[in-house]
């Protein structure tokens, strides 16, 4: 039987400009699982996302991250992506002059060997199929990468990329922010459609709303750079009802 995806984050400490944000985060995500990471602003949620992706401003001072047994922290940004990591940005970059279709095909081919590039026909078919599922009109393909996209359109563009690049671990950084109820539903459906034994999802969010659609298997609460509580879906419900102050008190009392 094929080995499923496995991400192991061990005691991760991350600094930005000399200030420690993550103070020993540990996490295990297996293929087929959806983990939610919740926390108040400033807790370090995005820091975890960027540190996993390898953003140069975030310095890992301690800890290990293994993706399917490979040392992720030892890899360059692009190597991590080709190893199967995908980050859906909270604020995706707008890159003028680069048509979406052009960029997507280049990204797909980055994972394929020379001589085995995806054919234009197959690419076109896959692109149209995924855009249809995400209710994106076809003219988006010729628009410049995220340029002039509304917040909702940008988020859908991130999920479109995820669908085409078939990652092993997808980190969704506050994908719900700026989405209305319809956008939320479409994006969640997009992610759910990709769920399977080869994909592990880390959904980083401040709010509970998206979790109603994504239905996580595990919920972790990040507070001041540490995961202070883990549980099932019910934890998210409790958090929604009682707020982050409740967790702070709980942790304080422990």
């Amino acid at each position: 039987m094929a080995q499923g995806t496995y991400l192991k984050v061990e005691d991760l400490h991350v600094e930005i400009e000399g200030k420690e944000i993550l103070k020993g985060v540990s996490l295990e995500i297996k293929g087929g699982e959806v983990h939610a990471l919740m926390g108040p602003n400033g807790s370090g949620k995005s820091t975890l996302a960027y540190a996993l992706a390898g953003h140069p401003r975030y310095e890992v001072t301690r800890g290990r991250v293994l993706l399917n047994g490979e040392d992720l922290l030892d890899m360059e940004v692009d190597e991590r992506a080709r190893a199967g990591l995908f980050l859906a940005f909270q604020y995706p970059a707008e890159i003028t002059g680069v048509p979406m279709a052009n960029f997507l095909r280049t990204a797909i081919n980055a994972r394929r060997e020379k001589g085995n590039e995806i054919s234009l026909a197959e690419f076109g078919r896959k692109l149209r199929e995924q855009m249809k599922k995400l209710q994106m009109s076809e003219d988006f393909a010729s628009r410049y990468l995220n340029e002039g996209f509304s917040g909702g359109e940008k988020k859908r563009s991130e999920i479109l990329q995820m669908a085409l690049l078939e990652p092993k671990i997808a980190v969704l950084d506050e994908t719900d922010s700026g989405l209305d109820i319809d956008g939320l539903r479409i994006v969640s459906e997009g992610v759910n459609a990709l769920r399977g034994p080869d994909l592990g999802v880390l959904c980083i969010t401040h709010y509970y709303r998206i979790l109603q659609y994504l239905k996580p298997d595990f919920v972790h609460v990040l507070l001041d750079g540490r995961i202070v509580r883990s549980g099932g879906k019910e934890l998210a419900v409790e958090l929604e009802e009682k707020g982050y102050d409740w967790i702070r008190q709980e942790v304080g009392n422990a």
Binding site: A53, G54, H55, P56, E76, V77, D78, R80, A81, R82, F86, L87, F89, P92, A93, I95, T96, G97, V98, N102, F103, T106, A107, A110, R111, Y144, L145, Q161, L165
Partner: protein
């Protein structure tokens, strides 16, 4: 086997050149006047562009070369071009100072359009040439222009009759292969009333160890209502010092579009200037450059508004890597009396290395109240967030940079109205990003 001897720059040399080319007396006199001016002047002093490396003494200004009889005799890169060109396109290839090899669609002859090697035109179309030659760019404007007028021995004369629209671009390819020999092409374009023509000029050379000096002058003379598009793609060899002056006086309701692309040479100074003297005249410039190694580009574009209801716009974008250097001088000059003028310019440089440097000197001089004008110039590095975003999708760094650079050039390339030019510019940029 005859030995073609080179001619050195000197008064005797200039006279000898005139004899070899079989020119009429007035042309010889012009050369001598220009040579005199050359001797009396000092090298121009351009802020931020240092001519210390330029060697004008001794200088071989001419070396006879035989005409190219068939495409097989053309240098490699040009042969490929010939193959790519289909029926109906107009291709003229000049190697060194030899007679050009040509493949012109029958449209040109039928329409009475003249495309002649410049030295040939001086003899065969004497009246026309004499009327317009040197009227737009004077022989004594600076030492290097004077050198051009003393030593001119190649280039083309293009004449488009009244109300004639040439549908396919006229492509002029100049290639210098003789080592160390100077190149002095004159391009004289006369577009009669209502004429329309697109000209694409490509200049290149094969440089050995010796320095090569190029002094080129392009004069475009549009009569009322004429429209001329002039693309100039420069890929001179790495030992070339290039000085190109392009200019046009625009008559009423005429239009001139410049599309300069700077890629070659050790040092290349190119200046394109449109004087919008006729009312309703318009001029546009789409500039592209890509410097690497220790190249130095000095690119000037001037739009001088004199008539009423004139319009100009400049958009220039370029990339520098290694120790490449660019000095950009954009001037929108709106004179008193040029009412209802509209003049805009934008220039963006992207630096791909720590040592690359760009000095953008945009200028607006406005002496009239009822005008619209604006300018913007930026110099910057690749946006690191953009690079991170693309790499996070699996693109290796070099590929991500290439995509960003192509996107950077897109606003200019998308506006280039000549498909062939756009493709060639794109290929040059792509080639540089992969090297």
């Amino acid at each position: 086997m005859s030995v073609t001897t080179g001619i050195s720059l000197s008064e005797n040399g200039v006279v000898e050149l005139s004899e070899r080319l079989g020119e009429p007396g007035w042309m010889r006199e012009r050369r001598l006047a220009a040579f005199k001016a050359y001797q009396s002047m000092k090298l121009p002093r351009w802020d931020r562009t240092d001519l210390a490396g330029l060697s004008l003494d001794p200088l071989t200004i001419y070396q006879g070369s035989k005409a190219v009889a068939s495409p097989e005799e053309l240098p490699g890169p040009l042969r490929a071009l010939v193959d790519e060109h289909g029926e109906g396109s107009h291709l003229f290839v000049q190697v060194d100072s030899g007679r050009s090899w040509r493949r012109a669609g029958e449209e040109l002859a039928r329409q009475g359009v003249i495309v002649a090697d410049f030295p040939t035109a001086v003899r065969d179309h004497e009246d026309l040439v004499r009327k317009y030659f040197g009227m737009t760019v004077a022989f004594d404007e600076d030492k290097l222009i004077a050198l051009h007028y003393a030593a001119v021995s190649s280039g083309f004369f293009i004449y488009v009759p009244k109300n004639t629209a040439v549908s396919a671009p006229i492509e002029l390819r100049l290639f210098a292969s003789a080592e160390g020999v100077g190149v002095f092409p004159h391009i004289l374009v006369v577009a009669e009333e209502g004429a329309e023509v697109t000209i694409v000029e490509g200049v290149a050379s094969e440089d050995g160890e010796a320095q090569r000096v190029v002094s080129e002058v392009v004069e475009i003379c549009p009569l009322p209502g004429a429209q001329v598009r002039y693309g100039a793609i420069q890929t001179w060899g790495r030992r070339t010092y290039n000085f190109t002056t392009r200019r046009s006086f625009l008559a009423r309701d005429s239009k001139v579009e410049w599309i300069p692309g700077e890629f070659g040479g050790a040092l290349s100074r190119s200046h394109s200037k449109s004087i919008l003297s006729g009312s309703g005249s318009e001029s546009y410039c789409l500039g592209v450059f890509f410097g690497e190694g220790e190249q130095h580009f000095d690119m000037g574009i001037t739009m001088l508004h004199e008539g009423e209801h004139t319009a100009s716009d400049m958009l220039t974008k370029g990339v520098l890597k290694d120790k490449g250097r660019m000095v950009y001088r954009g001037l929108t000059d709106i004179e008193h009396g040029a009412r209802f003028a509209s003049g805009f310019q934008r220039e963006n440089t992207m630096l791909l290395s720590e040592e690359a440097r760009s000095d953008a000197i945009p200028g607006l001089e406005i002496d009239e109240t009822e005008v619209q004008a604006g300018h913007a110039a930026t110099v910057g590095q690749i946006d690191r967030n953009h690079l991170f975003y693309l790499m996070s999708r699996g693109l290796p760094r070099a590929e991500a940079m290439r995509l960003i650079v192509e996107g950077f050039f897109d606003p200019v390339l998308a506006r280039v109205p000549v498909e062939g030019v756009r493709a060639e510019l794109y290929a040059l940029i792509d080639g540089r990003m992969r090297s």
